[in-house]
Symmetry: C2
Subunit: 217 residues, 2 copies
């Protein structure tokens, strides 16, 4: 199809499509003449993926390029691609070197051991977790660790559902892409569900108008 | 304390502290002389909160200003502040008007009814959820709805833990702030835990080296 039709089908403006090609997110179309290219279903599908990572996943164009490169690399093992996608969701900032950070790292190491998780503390997610916990401690919310296992139980449930879903699709050849989609979009799905569940839990605990007057502060 | 000591205690550079004051994120210090201000523990604590929302929550300065304004408004009911904080985590883009979006919105409406959640579809989180589901459908992952209830179960568990934690702290007068912290930092905590659990679930399903050769794609 021509770029105009590709634009109509995906809702992505032609100049934006050309930008994605320049940035290496989208492979160029097959040239049918010096100034005319032909695009196929693969381009249409890739555009939907780019928009999803961009609009729903909130990822940056540069990060999407990295993740798509991993998706397009047949030699890349599944968990490496999963890591590449997951790392893009991470805070990515360097950790502070203070007592709160040290205490948080110890909590994370202990949690991973206690849950028997087959991962190690060098995982970027472990650093993101201890960073979040250190911030909570600095804010006087060190007691938040009391609910850490409730969080871990829920995270295990979601992860099992994700992997079971991906495994059911293992026959089709888009498994790696499925993992990227599940990691990034699944994050958005859970975030929205958690916020909806908050409203419900708050309504059950305080009534639909929130906590009684005077308790709001 | 002087601004220099405040900077040392929080690890936030003096020019950055002045920037936060200009942007209205941090109340100005008490002037002790025309060109010297005195800062207290409230400033130190607020700086920790700003850095947490910025570095861990990945929020923008403008959005943090909105959320802190809600935190500082005693008339603001708890669930409104929770909403203000939660909305900042949302995709925030406008929804597309196509068949996938319509189908996704129906799925969300059905889910909320099925779970008996005391919330309604006008909640921004509901829009974010249907947006993520529509993107999944466009990518041929409509079957993802099969795991939606696993996600919802996990979200309910996390939300109950969050509210129970906040409720235990209801006596202290920083309940609203606690909700904001729990909403934003709790999001970061769960995201990291989910990624760690992914590695473990993947290891259990495929072995630590990922899926068998040839199944990676």
């Amino acid at each position: 199809m021509r770029i105009g039709e590709l634009s109509r089908k995906t809702g992505v403006p032609v100049p934006t499509i050309k930008y994605y090609v320049r940035e290496g997110l989208l492979p160029p179309g097959e040239l049918t003449s010096p100034n005319q290219a032909n695009y196929g279903e693969a381009h249409e599908r890739r555009l939907h993926l780019i928009r999803a990572l961009l609009d729903v996943g909130g990822m940056k164009v540069a990060d999407i390029a990295d993740v798509l490169a991993a998706v397009d690399d047949p030699a890349r093992p599944l968990h490496k691609v999963l890591g590449a996608a997951a790392d893009r969701l991470g805070a990515g900032h360097t950790e502070r070197d203070d007592t709160e950070s040290a205490a948080a790292q110890a909590i994370v190491t202990d949690l991973i051991a206690r849950r028997g998780w087959r991962t190690h503390t060098s995982n970027p997610a472990a650093a993101d977790l201890s960073k979040a916990l250190a911030a909570l401690v600095r804010l006087g919310h060190g007691a938040f660790v009391e609910v850490l296992d409730d969080y871990a139980d829920a995270a295990e449930r979601v992860a099992r559902a994700d992997l079971a879903y991906v495994d059911r699709r293992a026959a089709v050849d888009d498994m790696v892409e499925s993992v990227v989609i599940g990691t990034v979009l699944g994050e958005a799905v859970f975030s929205a569900l958690r916020r909806l569940a908050h409203v419900d839990a708050s309504a059950k605990l305080y009534g639909t108008d929130g906590p009684p007057e005077g308790r709001a502060r």
